[in-house]
């Protein structure tokens, strides 16, 4: 899959930018490591997070994992379809597995994120 428009955090979240809105999800590597996802606690629409805040969590058969917001801003949409089909995070992490959309407040934070190639390099070092 073409990940040109995706950026990654070192905590394995991805973001995809459209204007001032960023969709957020977890990377393919993260979903594989977590194993089968059984439940996702979505952030509340309208809530605000600072970059690095634990804003949501994903429960897999192995453990509960925090999602750390890769950007600061206000949550404008959440993917409620994951309530019934959490497996989308495993099957299709970059598209239907998106978790929430955030109206980000500080575009400078984008420079801290890795592009797909840098992220791939980063994974090799883990």
């Amino acid at each position: 899959m073409d990940l040109t428009n995706y950026k990654f955090s070192k905590d394995h979240e991805w973001v995809k930018i459209e204007d001032d809105i960023a969709s957020v999800g977890v990377s393919d590597y993260a979903q594989k490591e977590m194993g089968d996802v059984v439940f996702i606690e979505l952030p509340e629409k309208g809530s605000s997070f600072v970059k690095g805040d634990a804003c949501s969590n994903i429960e897999s058969v192995k453990a509960v994992n925090d999602i750390f917001s890769p950007l600061s801003g206000e949550v404008v949409d959440v993917n409620t379809t994951l309530e019934d089909t959490p497996e989308n995070v495993n099957k299709d992490p970059y598209r239907s597995g998106w978790i929430y959309k955030i109206k980000f407040s500080d575009p400078a934070e984008l420079t801290d994120l890795l592009d797909a190639n840098q992220y791939e390099e980063y994974l090799k070092g883990i």
């Binding site: 490591e33 089968d36 059984v38 439940f39 429960e59 058969v61 192995k62 453990a63 509960v64 994992n65 959490p86 497996e87």
Partner: protein, 480 residues
Amino acid sequence: MNKLPELIFNISRKGKTGVSVSLNQFPDELIAINKKKLRNGIEDFPSLSEVETVRHFSNLARLNHSVDNGFYPLGSCTMKYNPKVNEKIAGIDNLSAHPYSPVDLVQGNLRIIKELEEWLIELTGMDSFTLTPSAGAHGEFTGMMIIRKYLTSLGDPRKIVLIPDSAHGTNPASAHFAGYDIREIPSNDEGIIDLEELKKHLDEDVAALMMTNPNTLGIFEKNIVEISKALHDNGSMLYMDGANMNAFLGIVRPGEIGADVIHLNLHKTFSTPHGGGGPGSGPIGVSKELSKFLPVPRITSEGGKLKVKYFTEEGIGRIKNYYGNFLVMVRALAYLMALGKENVSLVAEDAVLNANYIRKELEGHLDLPYKGKTLHEVVFSDSGLKVKTLDIAKRLLDYNIHPFTVYFPLIIHGAMMIEPTETESKETLDNFISVMKTILKEAEENPEYLKNSPHNTPVSRLDEVYAARKLILRWEKSEV
């Protein structure tokens, strides 16, 4: 291995009955429930004879695996063997009393609480203890409230609690409930807290560090004295999670290495029931300057008589009704008294010896990500294997061994945390080691066989993902 019994609904046949008591033989005034209110029966309630019912439930019960019928390497953190004498003593008639009994009538009960407090003070080197908290996390919360109250009394409760990435999951939850924000500290290559890294995080906002020692990798935090000094120089507190106290019971006294608050789990280290719902008990020990903030009730001694204080000027108040889980305390005291002061440290010595025996025998067969010395447990990884940790855990069931803790701590890939505890004999450990070696050979030669295990249990591999996603908790009659 026993077969899975049929569902009771499937063996039910209309018209069968167990105990049949005819109400007609009793005069109405002897029947407590008004006859008109009695139901004529419950729809789909199974009909069986008495003996069929007994056999059904006995056969189900026989499928249980417990530490009483097999090796159970989940360790003290989950469950170690509880000597039966503790149960006998806790079962003595009239030992439990009504919590509102006048203190004059329950001097013996109060003495049990007081003596256990004294034991724990001596074992930990803390200044004073409360036995009130019901479990470990309740103790953590109580401890963090005490820290908050103490720091507030100095002028500022502060904002942040530091927690290492290898911590028990309850630590961040407890600190958060006590009103603190959490900051995670990464472990270093040795799997312990890096002193220099810690110092970078120490500022005037840091209320405390919550650490488990030995940590969840079974590694002793060897810089503990420097860590506590760095914290105290910064006006921050050291909270020690004592869930792994089994590793140095009677050998290290946390109060002497700088702990300001420590919780113990009577249901872990002190051999009282655990698992299956408890009740547990999570006593808190504090340093001298924090002791006035302990919750009530406090038991005091006045002129040879024990009294109960229900109010203290500066304490955090009540955290539970009454005194805590009294009969758990009875078991813990019985356990300690049976061991005797001079033998308590044997618990830790044998637990550490057993864990290291397993480590030595399996090292080289399994990846060991952190090579430093370990105490009461050892954590391997599934790196380099053709199967996953879960497959090995499932295969162990075929050999009548309960799997070890899997996938925790999270900092190890496919963690296998093995904690045999002090009670297991060399023969039991040798059997486990040989089973593990057999399984690892199978994993190499026939990984598919492991991926479909277990093979000899009443049910084969369960679809845990489906079960978690589509949770069904009660039986319903099938429509078909």
